[in-house]
Symmetry: C2
Amino acid sequence: MMGAAKDRVEIVEVGPRDGFQSVAPFIPTARKIAIIEALYAAGIRRMEATSFVSPKALPQLADAAEVLAAAQALPGLEAQVLVPTARHAERALEAGARHLAFVLSVSERHNRGNVRRAPAESAEEYARIVAMLPEGTGLRLNLATAFDCPHLGRIDEAETLALLDGMADMAPRAEVALCDTTGRVNPAHVQGLFTTAMERFPQVARWAFHAHDTYGLGAANTLAAWNAGVRVFDASVAGLGGCPFAPGATGNVATEDLVYMFDGMGVATGIDLSSLAAVAREVAELPEAQTGGRVRVALAARACIADIAA
Amino acid sequence: MMGAAKDRVEIVEVGPRDGFQSVAPFIPTARKIAIIEALYAAGIRRMEATSFVSPKALPQLADAAEVLAAAQALPGLEAQVLVPTARHAERALEAGARHLAFVLSVSERHNRGNVRRAPAESAEEYARIVAMLPEGTGLRLNLATAFDCPHLGRIDEAETLALLDGMADMAPRAEVALCDTTGRVNPAHVQGLFTTAMERFPQVARWAFHAHDTYGLGAANTLAAWNAGVRVFDASVAGLGGCPFAPGATGNVATEDLVYMFDGMGVATGIDLSSLAAVAREVAELPEAQTGGRVRVALAARACIADIAA
């Protein structure tokens, strides 16, 4: 586990998608773009910039095309967009998307709640998307509720593996992310499922982990995935996320907390922690933002102590 | 890392000491005792009940003798008390203490700030305490700033090991705790130092880890210590702690967060999570309490969703 100097991870900043979508008041498009630019300035080079979904279902992301264009204007930024169906994938490609992240849920109940389809039907959507992708388009496959479902609780490993059995060969070059949608997974489950999946699907070139911090285990679960060999991690600046109907049910693990952890371990992220923390403090000021994470606050407290001491 | 059914850990609840001492307004003794009794009812069987220190330096713990007596009246509760010098150890023993936890800092600057002694002088105090202990008295050796010092930053592994070189044989039956006083340590450092120390000091029967959550890594660092083979973990109910002069600089990792993590891993703690979370919500209501942790809030939010759905 000791991080040698050459170790590195890729942090995927999902605040502009997973974070913004959880904020009720519309965030002006210019403000979204300013935050994306500030994240980029802090060293973020991969981002889930937005999502192409029904603007009726998710009015916050109705400006997806405009936000995507702005993100893609930043040199060297890999801007992925989340799509839940082939139709929305078409819209994203028409808008110029060069990296799609397709999401489906292992849990049938959760998948039907999101897209009114069984997981197997969503897998067919994925196949259609793979078939329509222009050469060179990046692709990620997100398995939501890969560990735990808000309605059903723990998802059996066999169920997640069975879904992957049918999908892993559709696009072997795709990155596969196992997502802890509820934040209820534990480190043993994370490490165990990744270890099994990585052995069973050697054709998958890259694996990613998507942690939520609702139960305080975002960093611990990320560490468990790291120990299993995962090197791509989703996180949201300021821990932005949560659900307006569940006070305290926080969102993704905070990007600055992961950067702090990996910095300490000597694992390169390419991100400047203090710049990122400054962006996080700004993001935390968004109206009705539900935030998480500790580093943003701890660094500010330390600055304040230094002031007193000086 | 997968937890078999027989795996278990011992959680040491340090809220009544590390937590209470950080709260400025005096907590009435009866309230302290009521919290200790509620923690016991939730299944806590080991607790740092108080500390014998100068009542001038720490007026919050001036009722140490009374609190200790109440804790020791609970059948099967192992109530340890923290002491920083031989003189205070004498006071604790006179008050009937049956388990002492001696603390010194690896960092000379930090140790001088706490007890106006060099670490080597504190090590002599420890030797005097070992010599005066009645047969059967429990003993723990806490190495504060074992990883990181608030003044000096990272503490070299060699420095911590050198201090233990001189102390490990003084009382081989003592439990040795490496403490992350600042919350700034990272999982690689935790796992690395424990692994080295456990190999170098085979005469130490039990090791413990004391995590703070100031930078969001309390659970991740606990997991790293677990992976190194540590089975005794300090934690504070509601994450009570922090420093009145550092807003946001939270305290120990929350007990309920660790119980949640170990429960999920199938590792027995003997503690009932939902009873503990109820105590945590009460503790969070203490005037000027600085709290941390996620589980207390997340479980309450889930209860609230269930209400809406019903």
